[in-house]
């Protein structure tokens, strides 16, 4: 259904409609299905009923049979490896397993029972019910229908205060929300180039950034945003806004909570400062 051998996520351009998460292959093979997500570690012995594939303690009585079972890591008795074999015999195996960090119990169980398995995946980017393809050979998880965007977030500080702009009704996303200077990274640009360009276009300032922050990846609906943060400083700058914003305000970072901001902004500012 999907093309083989896609390039890893970090080389892909913005706007594609298949998100590919690059992890590490633990058990070979490809499996696809709906994601069943557990937020806590899973012990197959006692935690999953082999005759049905039902997860113990889940009120909705969901089964992992034929599904892609995503959980942080395995735990509990080493006999858990044999539970996966019993599930194979009874036809209740999951189509694939995704972990944050593989440990030996689930890893050996997956190899023995021939369940494709990938680890080192950020489970925060998955949602219950997502349709995904797990490739244990290439160590990837493909999410058809999820687009991926690279954007910059330029935090401009004047002393203790940062510039907050209200997004106009003419922009494509997050209309009416408060944000920093931001914009899409175009195909032929580096994020650093975009950051300086956006500062010039949106508020008319020609500045070099002081610091580049850690890229933050967040999922919002069917979009995954890779936000590249940049810190700029200026003293009493003359701010001229364009059509993308309706107003602006200088606020202390601790007061961000009083504004309806774009997702993740407070965390980005905290990390930069």
């Amino acid at each position: 259904m999907l093309p083989e051998g896609r390039v890893p996520i970090y080389r892909r351009i913005a706007g594609d409609d298949i998100l590919i998460l690059k992890g590490r292959g633990i058990s070979k093979g490809r499996g696809e299905g709906e994601v069943v997500l557990s937020e806590s570690p899973v012990s197959f012995l006692g935690g999953v009923e082999p005759s049905t594939g039902n997860i113990a303690g889940r009120e909705d009585g969901r089964s992992v049979k034929g599904k892609v079972f995503a959980f942080p890591q395995g735990k509990g008795s080493t006999v858990g490896s044999y539970v996966l074999l019993e599930m194979r015999r009874r036809g209740t195996l999951p189509a694939a397993i995704i972990n944050s960090v593989a440990e030996p119990i689930v890893a050996t169980g997956s190899v023995m029972a021939r369940v494709p398995m990938v680890d080192r995946i950020d489970l925060g980017l998955l949602r219950e019910g997502d349709l995904v393809v797990v490739d244990g050979d290439s160590g990837t998880v493909e999410l058809p229908g999820v687009r991926e965007n690279h954007v910059v977030s330029c935090v401009l500080m004047d002393g203790e205060k940062m510039l907050l702009l209200k997004r106009s009704s003419e922009v494509g996303t997050f209309r009416g929300y408060w944000a920093s200077v931001s914009g899409f990274v175009e195909e032929d640009e580096t994020p650093a180039e975009t950051a300086c360009k956006e500062l010039q276009e949106e508020i008319g300032l020609d500045l070099m950034f002081e610091k580049e922050g850690r890229t933050v990846t967040v999922r919002d609906g069917c979009t995954v945003w890779h936000v590249h943060p940049y810190l700029f400083r200026a003293t009493r700058p003359r701010v001229v806004i364009d059509w993308e914003h309706t107003e602006y305000s200088w606020v202390r970072p601790q007061d961000l909570k009083d504004f309806q901001t774009v997702p993740g902004l407070a965390g980005i500012v905290r990390d930069l400062l």
Partner: protein
């Protein structure tokens, strides 16, 4: 992990499906632990033998492996779910016995020595200092690392089986010199040491550090008891005893944290483990009784009279049993001599509700794996219950 051309070929399935599966298991484990390569092993010891633990899923897996794979190094087996000869006397159902025989038969086809015991180092699988092994069974592998100075990680059943089939294991953890040095010094300040209680107290408090004991001089049998109790209470896969174990180096403990272990800590362990009374089963031999231990028990019991109506088991290996028939004759007046199995891996929960033991290891597993109330006694305490 780096693979040689030969290993790549095995992973690609060129040497058969069983070998491919085994190689996939080793690569998965090697990647998880960030091993750089595979290293040859001298022997393997496998857990995952009892029908009670591995079930039908385990049988299907072993049958598929046994189609075209064989172990490449001498390999021994952990206890099974029953005595292979006296299973009827143990109250085992014919169905269970049938499935258990099938499991052992599968291991036999794979080329594994089927003397089922947790003390292979007293039988057909005796490692030498410095040798590389892939052993499962936490008490045996800790004994091999500590008392012998051989090298093995704490393998699970499937990992050890895969290593046996390939003849290699991923090089990480206790295979590397730097990971075998002590992480905490345990100063034992008790006159008469109960090695089960000492092991339990230390195993529950040192985390993943390697303990270095001072102030004790255990015999080989006491090292066996200590290794088992510590491995069950925590994750201890290796320890040192000053002046006793081969890799204990007094120069290696400078600056380490010291844990003082006195009467109070030992009594706390006893109170934690000894939770029941009026045992329906009294079981000795976890780990399996050695020849010396059987002789010691026989010497104490000879001429005494059986008392009480609890069932009594003396668990050992067939290999050890064959060496002391006269002493076992004495023991059999007081209870059953049970081979190939032990009170943890056989389904005792179908017949008993409470079990008395002198084993720190059994105390840890009996409540959860066998739904037992546990009575803890020293060896002498158990003998007083039965004679």
């Amino acid at each position: 992990m780096f693979l040689t051309r030969d290993e790549e070929a095995m992973l690609a399935g060129e040497k058969g499906e069983g070998i491919r599966t085994a190689m996939e298991l080793l690569v998965a484990l090697g990647d998880i632990y960030e091993a750089k390569r595979l290293v040859p092993i001298v022997s393997a010891h496998l857990s995952g033998v009892s029908y009670k633990t591995i079930g039908e899923g385990g049988i299907s897996f072993l049958q598929s492996l046994a189609k075209d794979a064989k172990v490449r190094v001498p390999t021994t087996l952990n206890p099974a779910g029953m005595d292979r000869e006296k299973w009827k006397e143990m109250g085992i159902s014919p169905r269970f016995a049938d499935r258990q025989h099938l499991i052992i038969e599968c291991y036999g086809k794979l080329g594994v020595d089927t003397d089922c015991s947790c003390t292979p180092y007293l039988g057909n699988n005796v490692p030498k200092k410095g040798q590389t092994l892939a052993w499962a069974e936490s008490s045996a592998l800790s004994f091999a690392n500590s008392a012998i100075g051989a090298r093995t990680n704490r393998e699970g059943g499937p990992g050890a089986l895969a290593a046996a089939i390939i003849g290699r294991t991923p090089e990480y953890g206790l295979h590397l010199d730097g990971n075998r040095t002590p992480g905490i010094v345990v100063e034992v300040e008790v006159e008469e040491v109960d090695y089960s209680l000492l092991g339990h107290a230390v195993g529950s408090s040192v985390g993943n550090r390697i303990p270095y004991f001072r102030g004790i001089r255990p015999t080989a049998d006491q090292l066996k008891t200590l290794a088992a109790a510590m491995a069950a209470a925590g994750s201890v896969a290796m320890f040192h005893v000053e002046g006793v174990t081969p890799e204990a180096d007094p120069l290696s403990i400078e600056g380490l944290e010291r844990l003082h272990l006195g009467r109070a800590e030992v009594e706390a362990a006893r109170n934690k483990l000894d939770r029941g009374r009026d045992p329906e089963l009294i079981a000795l031999g976890c780990p399996h009784l050695s020849v010396d231990e059987i002789r010691g028990l026989a010497a104490k019991l000879e001429g005494r009279k059986r008392k009480g109506d609890a069932e009594v088991w003396f668990c050992t290996s067939r290999h050890t049993a064959a060496k002391c028939p006269r002493e076992l004759g004495v023991l059999s007046k007081f209870g059953k001599v049970v081979c190939d199995t032990c009170m943890i891996v056989t389904p005792i929960e179908e017949r008993f509700r409470s079990t008395a033991t002198n084993s720190g290891k059994a105390c840890c597993y009996l409540p959860n794996l066998c739904s037992q109330k546990v009575v803890y006694r020293s060896t002498e305490g158990l003998l007083e219950m039965i004679s």
